[in-house]
Subunit: 150 residues, 2 copies
Amino acid sequence: MMSKTSKEHLEQFRTQCKARGLSITPQRTAIYEALIGSQDHPRTEDIYNRVKTAFPDMSIDTVYRTLCLFAEIGFVHLVEGYGEAKRYDPDMECHHHFRCMRCGRILDFKEPRFDALDVPERFKQTCAVSSVKVVLEGVCDQCLQKAGES
Amino acid sequence: MMSKTSKEHLEQFRTQCKARGLSITPQRTAIYEALIGSQDHPRTEDIYNRVKTAFPDMSIDTVYRTLCLFAEIGFVHLVEGYGEAKRYDPDMECHHHFRCMRCGRILDFKEPRFDALDVPERFKQTCAVSSVKVVLEGVCDQCLQKAGES
DNA sequence: TTGCCGAACAAGAATCATTCTTATATAGTA
DNA sequence: TACTATATAAGAATGATTCTTGTTCGGCAA
C-alpha cells in the first residue's frame, strides 16, 4: 500500500484546478500542501498557522475561502462545523440522516438494516458509545432541481 | 404504534429531572414542550421564538443552556453544530468516525464491513449521494479517564 | 513577450451564534 | 415560612466566519 508522493498530489491538484477553470495560485498550492501533509482534522486556523511561515501576510479569509472551495470540489472532506447553528432532534427513536451539503437540510430516514451495526471492538473496549448512525451526504432533491433550472 | 401523549412526556420530564437533581422550572418545561412538539430539527432560536409567546422575557441564553442540558441528559439529540470550528479531513479513502461528545475529538477508523452499505432507494432516486458513513457518538477513552479520576 | 480582464487576494469591518458576567429571582427543602 | 443553591435575565464579550473594498495577479490573446 503505497500512498501518493507529494509530487503526484501536486500534479493532481493542478490538473483538477485546470479542469474546473480555477487559477493555480501560490496561496492555493501552499494550502493544498499543508492539508495533504496533515494528520488528524485540522481547523482553518491550523492550516493558516502552517502556511503563515511561507506567506507571512496571507489573509485568514483566503484560507477560509480556499478550504471551502477544496471541500466543494472534493479535495478534502468537511468533518465538523457545517456552518449551521446548533440543531436538535427530538425524535429519539433510532433513525439515520441525509445531509445536504448545499443547503444544510438534514433529512431523517428509518432503515432497519442500519439499526444494528456492530461497533468495532476497539471502541467497545475503550469508549462509551451511545449512538451508531449512518450519515449520507450529498445534494438533496430541492437543490438538484434548483441547479437544473439555472 | 402509539406515540406518547403530551402528559406522558411531561411526566417523564419531571421524573428525569428529579432523578438528576435538576429543578423543574417553568422555562425548562416550556422548552421541553416546544421541543417535543416540533417536527424537523429546530435551532435554538426556533425554540426561543416558540416559547417567547408564553414567556415574553425569557433570555435566549436560557434556551441555549437548557437545550444543551437536554442533549447531555438524553432528552434530545444534537444533530448539527457541535460547537467546534470547521475541520477538514484530508484522508479521502473510505473511513468512518467516532465523535466524542465531551471533548469534540473525532477519531477515524477503517471498517470494511461498513464500506458498502446500500443507500436506500428513496435517496438513490431523488438525491445525489456522495458519501455513506457510519458515525459513532459517545465519550472517548481520554474523557472517560478524566471523569474517573475526579 | 506584453497587455488585458476577470478571478483571487489582503485588510479590516461586520455579522452571527454562542458564552460569560453579574445581579436578581426562584425551586426545593429544612 | 425562611434559607440556600440553582436558575434566570440582561447585556457585554468572544470566537468563528463572512462581507466589503480596493489592489494584485494568473492565464489567455495579440
